[in-house]
């Protein structure tokens, strides 16, 4: 049993939570709920020992796993007892190939080589990664990276699993795989604590705990996304209603990463500037890569992409006149180290932008994953007239923030059409889109 006795966390003078009392028995899936920045990740960090060993914070109370006080065990020895999957997947992958990622913990357990390989193969097979063992993890898609981390957890197989947003960015098939794995782990008597905004977790959880509102939150407010405030944007110079014309003309497009199969092959596609497109496909199908090809971050191996009649010449600041792109990795959409600095960079790009009404200027490191996502999206209402290319914009957002973003998308689709969105969370909102494209067999197919 995992017991949290009067547990609390505070950062210097800022109290995050206090007096948490939890008893989680073996064979239990426990859902940790709460708004963005309520302290879900911090609580997981405290249980695993990242707080206070690496993140300076004060904790009160005790964390017991059975009879053992987890706080007395150094982080480097915790892998015998727990696995903590961080929400920032990029940060947790370190090695040049997936095999080394899976082997590292087992090497420290000093398993004999035969056993080690069979454990790796079993875990990789369970998550459909058997053909990816030699691949560089940085070339995997966001969903595949999540699955790789689940496979690492499977190889270590400790009694306690702490999972921070394990379903983020996963397609239906991968989500089913992870849910099945979680049920399996539960049957094996493991204690599983999951912090995730995905309602599917609610369905399999045996128990849950909602963290109270953050006692002293760092205010990140995206209320400008609401329908009441958005029409105000119409009066702004930067919001001119788009005209329907060919935005992208793609001919014979092919692309493959080094030493990998083609992601896209001989693709022909036309995208109109007023198209609202939902792009779907399995994890690893190449959705994000396709977006990067459209933005010029990646260059095609073969074929041609024309942007408003002119060949796309790689990444160019002039392209901003036509579209705005947001990567799946939130940090890539932020510049500077704090909220204010990020906005200052926007003001260089768009001098007519007013200052953000900020009372404080939190560092990005002080913000939760969801809050960082919200900060990266603060610019969206000011760029309504542009064609939006957004990769997984709902990832890490809680219900409120997700609703606000949805409202914004609905507003744009009606008043300023023109967007290409990759998301696994918009299945129920297809009405926003006039086109649904799906990646299948190295090409894009239009769903009717």
């Amino acid at each position: 049993m995992l017991i949290l006795k009067d547990f609390g966390i505070s950062f210097e003078e800022r109290k995050l939570c206090e007096g948490i009392k939890l008893k989680i028995p073996e064979g239990c899936i426990f859902h940790l709920k709460g708004h963005n920045a309520s302290g879900k990740s911090s609580l997981l960090n405290a249980i695993s020992g990242i707080i206070p060993e690496y993140v300076k914070a004060q904790t009160t109370g005790n964390i017991l796993l059975g009879d053992m006080d987890l706080q007395t065990i150094p982080l480097k020895e915790k892998y015998h007892y727990l696995w903590h999957q961080l929400s920032d997947t990029e940060a947790q992958l370190f090695f040049p190939d997936c095999l080394s990622e899976l082997a590292f913990a087992l090497e420290h357990i000093a398993l004999p080589q035969g056993k080690l390989m069979s454990k790796i193969n079993l875990a990789a097979g369970q998550f459909g990664l058997e053909n990816m063992l030699q691949r560089d993890p940085s070339t995997l898609s966001g969903g595949e990276k999540k699955l790789l981390l689940c496979a690492v957890a499977e190889t270590i197989d400790p009694p306690l699993l702490l999972l921070d947003e394990p379903l983020n960015g996963l397609d239906k098939q991968a989500t089913d795989l992870v849910l099945k794995w979680l049920k399996n782990k539960k049957e094996q008597g493991k204690i599983i604590i999951i912090a995730d905004h995905n309602p599917l977790i609610e369905g399999i959880a045996d128990d849950s705990y909602t963290l109270p509102e953050n006692l002293q939150p760092l205010a990140i407010n995206n209320s400008i996304f609401t329908e009441a405030d958005l029409p105000w944007q119409d009066e702004r110079d930067c919001a001119i209603k788009p005209v329907s014309e060919v935005l992208y003309n793609i001919e014979e497009l092919s692309f493959a990463y080094p030493k990998a199969e083609f992601i896209v092959k001989d693709l022909f596609l036309t995208i109109w500037s007023t198209d609202n497109i939902l792009l779907q496909g399995k994890n690893g199908a190449g959705k994000s890569t396709f977006l990067q090809l459209l933005t010029g971050i990646q260059k095609p191996a073969k074929g041609k992409i024309s942007l408003q009649g002119k060949p796309l010449q790689g990444l160019d600041s002039k392209n901003f006149a036509h579209f705005y792109y947001q990567s799946q990795i939130t940090r890539e959409n932020l510049l500077g180290i704090s909220v204010k600095q990020n906005w200052l960079f926007w003001q260089i790009a768009l001098p007519q932008l007013i200052n953000l009404p900020l009372q404080e200027d939190p560092l990005f490191t002080e913000l939760s994953a969801g809050q960082q996502k919200m900060v990266s999206q603060q610019i969206l209402p000011y760029l309504l007239s542009k064609f939006w290319i957004l990769d997984e914009p709902f990832a890490s957002l809680d219900e409120n923030a997700g609703k606000q973003l949805l409202q914004l998308l609905q507003y744009k689709s009606k008043n300023y059409p023109g967007m290409l969105i990759v998301s696994h969370s918009l299945e129920e909102h297809r009405d926003i889109f006039n086109r649904v494209l799906s990646f299948q067999n190295q090409t894009l197919q239009e769903e009717k």
């Binding site: 892998y79 590292f104 913990a105 420290h108 002039k318 705005y324 510049l335 926007w346 790009a349």
Partner: protein
Amino acid sequence: MKNSSLHPLTHICIVLLLSTFVFIAKKPVSLLCLTILAMLYAGWRMENGWLKVFKTLWHTLPFLLILAFFQIVFRHKGTLLWSYGIIKITREAVLLSLQLTLRLLTVIYCAKGLAVMNYTEFSKAFSALRLPEELSFMLSYAIHLVPKFLSQLKGFVTGLKLRGIDAAKLSLSKRLQVYKQLSVTALAELIRSSETSAIALELRGFRSEGKRNILHQQKFSYRDIFCLLIFGALVVFVTLI
């Protein structure tokens, strides 16, 4: 990185040999030979090696030429070769600038050759010497610090372009301000990511007590010894020319 059948420790020794002897050698011919050896080594180790060797030379050449120019112009002691007004070029100054340029180039190519090694390779090299794995992590991180910093900076420049900011079109003061801010951010990110990597590794038992097994063990073989002996002899020979 290209696959090499040599033990990672052999590669570290090759780089150490080159970067040590380039500071022992004094004659321009010896230094030039060592620089060429370093270029050949880096070209062999890197993906698209020859292209990268050439690119490195192309990018560092202006910096090296400026350094050489200052060495030649401001060092007046020694045998006079040419003079015009207050400008004097001496034999010693030319020699010194040549030494400095070639030594710097050799070190740069050695670093390039070493930077293709990842943590796993450093770990293999140090475990052969029974050194702690922390050292592999630290060295691998230190070696990759500059490439990582540059890649962070490149990412931020991509971020600027995606926001429609063309840094070249900004006023000089604004441009300096932007690059200063981005450099500070890249540095902060570098520190943060090193900490997160350490956390991620410790969550999988890095630095833990007890015996460790290695999946892909590689022994320091006779081939490594042979290769080191030949290369060592070659380096000593060109140094003594």
